[in-house]
Every structure is written in C-alpha cells, then in structure tokens.
C-alpha cells in the first residue's frame, strides 16, 4: 500500500471540513476523486501534501505504512508525494526556469513545444494563461521525480485540445511509468482520457461512493447531479476497504 488514509477528520478556519475520509492508493494506481464545489476535495489534497493551514483532528495519513501526519510539506515532497495545485500562487521575481533548477531532481523539459519555451522565462505563475499554469505545474511535478501525484483540478480552465495534450503527457510521463496518481476533479473531464482504475465521489467531507467503473459514475453524475448522490440508497458513511 502506497497511501492509506484512515478515518481522516480535518479542520480548517475553525470548521470541520473532512469528516472521516478513508482512501487507499496502491503503487502505480490511477484514482479519481469527484465531488461538487466545497465538498472538501482540495482540502484533502492539501492535507495529504502537508499544508499547515489544515489540522488533522482524528485519523491519520499513512505512506508506505508510515504515519506522515506530523511531517512538514517539504519532507512529504522528498518522500515522493507531489501536489499539482489548482490555483498556484504568484512568486514574484522568480523565473520558472530558475525555479526548476532549484527544485529539480531530474531534468525534464522534452514535452515543451518550441513556442512554449518563453514560459520558462516568465515569473512563476504571473500573467500566464490557464493552460500555461497547468504546463508549469506539470514541469515542476515531473522535475521532482514523484511516486504519488495529486492533481487538483488539472482539467479546470483548459479547452479540449489542451486538456487532451496535458492528459497525453500525464499518461506518458507519469501513469505509464507506474507513478500513482489521484485526480481531483469537479467535472470529470480529465478522467475520460486517463481511465482511472478506481473512482470515488466525495460529498460534504465524506467519500460516499466508489466504483471501478468510472463511466458508470460519470454517467450517473451527469444524469442526476451530485445532489442526487447524497440521497443515493447505496451511498455509505461507513469506511470502505
């Protein structure tokens, strides 16, 4: 087992956000987590990555059977857990090219198109398009040689052409290299390209549903919406194994 989250309760801004999350990811596995806005998906991603803003009040996160709740973000990254941010913040005066040199464990720039090389000379996350932000995130993630990547809304703000390209790169550089992934997505666009082995649904801070058939889940959500999920007779607050 690569990642094992057991009955995780998390508080942020004086509010309980995650209410007993259970999640397991095997080495090399591709997992998708769907859920409506405000369901706690990003908080889960940030908590796994070690954002000190979120406090674990119950349960725990295990990585290679080792509890990592008290590890700072940088140590988790060094263990191989890397987060692709949904809205990465601006870092003034630091060029992406220079930043990659600082953080990189391996050199990987080969998927950039020639016209995209300008991105390397731009300030980190400053005045760049949604697509460029995702490419920037992907470059950073790959340069960190991850073992588990959490993509938080990698499909937001991308047109279908860019999404396809990003998905292809992820498939080639991450999934086919047996790196485990957790795709967090609101609209489920990205998972159509990446075909996860397990798909989960989170509502109100709890994972209420899971299936190996991502198409079935996407179809149900498309037909009934997440509101219906809450009333699903098969949903459960019980921890699943």
């Amino acid at each position: 087992m690569l990642l094992n989250i057991k009955n995780l309760w998390v508080k942020g801004n004086a509010k309980i956000i995650l209410k007993g999350v259970n999640l397991k990811i095997q080495k090399g596995e591709t997992v998708a987590l769907l859920g409506p806005n405000g369901s706690g998906k990003t908080v889960l991603a940030q908590t796994i990555a070690g954002n000190p803003k979120y406090k674990i009040i119950k349960g725990g996160i295990y990585y290679h059977h080792r509890k990592i709740d008290s590890l700072p973000p940088e140590k988790r990254t060094n263990l191989g857990i890397v987060l692709g941010w949904q809205a990465p913040p601006l870092v003034k005066g630091v060029k992406l090219e220079d930043f990659l040199k600082i953080i990189q464990k391996t050199r990987i720039l080969n998927f950039l198109k020639p016209e995209e090389s300008q991105l390397l000379l731009k300030e980190l996350n400053a005045n760049i398009s949604g697509g460029e932000k995702k490419i920037s995130e992907l470059l950073q993630i790959l340069s960190l040689k991850p073992k588990l990547v959490i993509f938080d809304e990698i499909d937001s703000g991308l047109d279908i052409k860019n999404l396809e390209r990003i998905a292809k790169t992820i498939k080639k550089e991450i999934i086919q290299k047996k790196v485990a992934t957790l795709f967090i997505t609101h609209n489920g666009q990205v998972i159509k390209f990446l075909k996860p082995t397990k798909t989960l649904v989170m509502v109100d801070g709890k994972i209420i549903c899971q299936s190996k058939d991502y198409q079935k889940i996407l179809k149900t959500i498309k037909k009934y919406g997440y509101e219906k999920c809450k009333k699903c007779p098969f949903s459960s607050d019980r921890p699943y194994s």
Binding site: Q46, A49, G50, N51, P52, K53, P72, P73, E74, R76, T77, N78, V82, L83, W85, P88, P89, L90, V91, K92, G93, V94, F99, I102, I103, E123, Q140, L144
Partner: protein
C-alpha cells in the same frame, strides 16, 4: 577584494590604494580636486578630507568602478565624492561600499554629488554590503541636466547596525529618472529620505522601493516628489515583513505645484503570503529556503 584589478578608485579605511588612469576621465581624490580644480569647490560643502573626484570628459565603454571598504576596528570614513558627466556621454558607474570583516564597529559616512550635463546618460549601480555592527550614513545628490537620463539602482542586502540614507534628485527639462532602491534589513535600524524635484518641463521620475524587514529591523522612510513644472512622477513602494518584531513605516509626500503635472503613488506593505510559502514547500524547499527565495525574488524584480 574581488576584481581589484578592474577598480578605478579604491580606498580602504583612509588609504587610497588605487587610482587608475583612464583616457578622457580625470580621477583624483576629493582633497586634490578641491586644491587643483577651483570650480569643484562650489560642489563641496567644505574642504573635503577624503573621497573621489571623477570627471568624465570623453565616452568610455566600460563601467567605472569605485570601491570604499572598511577593514579596521572603529575606522571612521568621512567621504565627499563628486562625479561629473559631460554633455551627451553615456556612462555606467558601479559603486561598492563594504566592510571587509565582521564586527568592525566602524562607520562610513559618504556625501556625494553627481552631475549629469545636457543629454548625458548614467547608469549608477550602488551596492552596500556591511557587517552587523557598522554605522552608515549615505547622502547623495543628483543633478540631471536638460535631456539627461539617470538609472540609479541602490542595493543593500547586508545592512549595517544603523543606516541613514538620503537621496536628492533635481531634474531639469526633459530629463528622466529611474530610481530603484532594494533594501534587506536584518537586525538593523534604517532611516531614509528621497526627494525628487521635477523642476524642468517634461521631466519624469519613477521611484521604486522594495524594502524587506527581518530579525527585529525597523525601516522608516519618507519619499517626496515635488512637481514644479509640467512633469510626471510616480512612487511605488512595496514592503515585506519577515518576522513579527520588525516594522516598516513609509510616508509618501507628493507635492504638485503645476496643474499640468501628474504625480501618482502606490504602496503595499505586508507579510509573506502563507499560501506562497506552502506552495514552495510543496516543491521541496524548507521554510527558510522558501523565505529566502521569496525575498530574493522580491528584491531582484527591478534590478
């Protein structure tokens, strides 16, 4: 001292170690200039004791490098410098003031006048690098002649125990100023004052301040822009507080005396964003490395 062979004027404590000969440029000590060149006297407040006089009469295509260093316990430099750039010349000048050892408890006081004659262009890079126990006072005046242009970058990433610096700029018709001040204070008290006088028609000036206060530092400053003619001036100040015991206080003062002039101002002072810090930490940087990167990015943005 690195690159000592390229230095055109080098003084350590009170001793002038080197004055280079440069064709078309007269380089003397200030006392010598005061004695030999009578017109220089109007620029000195009194008979100077030490410092440089550089008179650029012909174009030189390399930066003129001057360096003042402190190397002796309790040494006290008291400098008066004068730099004159003749009409239409395009010059780069690098000025380094530093302490060669830590804990010297020495002082460096420098007064300078820089005169750009009509159409002259000067890029003036002023770098301070001090030990934690020095006391530093820097008082520079720039006179920008008609159609002249000055880019003045002041950088201080190793501040002294106490630092006072004043910069005065007087801009004549069609002259252009770009003043960038980058200051990182650690265990320091800094007081500064900028005064930009837009005296001539169509003169322009931008003052950018990037101030970082860390480890119990106090940075206080006042920036004044006076528009006496049809002109434009802009003040842009950004401050970053690293620890809870530091303080940055800035007073902008825009005085417009001409209805065709335009003066603008923007300022923000705050602490490092937690989100930015966490982001960098999720890229494998420790908290300290992340703070150092944020600070260096913040300070180097305009240089």
């Amino acid at each position: 001292m690195k690159n000592v062979k390229n230095v055109h004027f080098l003084q350590i404590d009170h001793i002038v170690k080197k004055i280079s000969k440069v064709e078309g440029v007269e380089i003397l000590t200030s006392p010598e200039a005061y004695k030999k060149i009578s017109w220089t006297r109007k620029f000195f407040s009194e008979k100077p004791k030490e410092g440089y006089f550089i008179w650029v009469k012909k174009q030189v295509d390399f930066p003129l490098l001057t360096c003042f260093s402190l190397n002796t316990y309790k040494a006290q430099q008291n400098l008066e410098n004068l730099l004159i750039i003749e009409k239409g010349l395009k010059i780069k000048s690098n000025v380094i003031c530093n302490a060669l050892k830590e804990n010297l408890c020495a002082s460096h006081k420098a007064k300078g006048k820089i005169v750009l004659k009509e159409g002259a262009k000067l890029q003036y890079f002023h770098s301070h690098w001090w030990g934690p126990k020095e006391i530093v006072e820097s008082d520079y005046e720039f006179y920008l002649g008609k159609d002249s242009q000055l880019i003045y970058n002041y950088k201080n990433t190793h501040s002294s125990k106490n630092l006072f610096f004043r910069t005065f700029i007087e801009a004549e018709k069609n002259s252009d100023l770009n003043l960038n001040i980058n200051l990182l204070g650690r265990n320091t008290k800094v007081k500064f004052e900028e005064v930009l006088k837009l005296k001539g028609e169509n003169s322009r000036g931008v003052i950018r301040l990037r101030l970082v206060a860390d480890k119990h530092s106090k940075i206080e400053g006042i920036s004044k822009i006076f528009a006496l003619n049809k002109s434009t001036g802009h003040l842009d100040c950004q401050g970053l507080l690293i620890d809870k015991d530091s303080k940055i206080s800035l007073i902008p003062n825009l005085v417009c005396e001409n209805k065709k002039a335009q003066l603008t101002h923007e300022a923000s002072i705050g602490k490092i964003s937690e989100e930015e810090l966490t982001y960098l930490r999720t890229r494998g940087l420790t908290e300290k490395q992340a703070i150092d990167l944020i600070v260096s990015g913040f300070l180097t943005k305009w240089t």
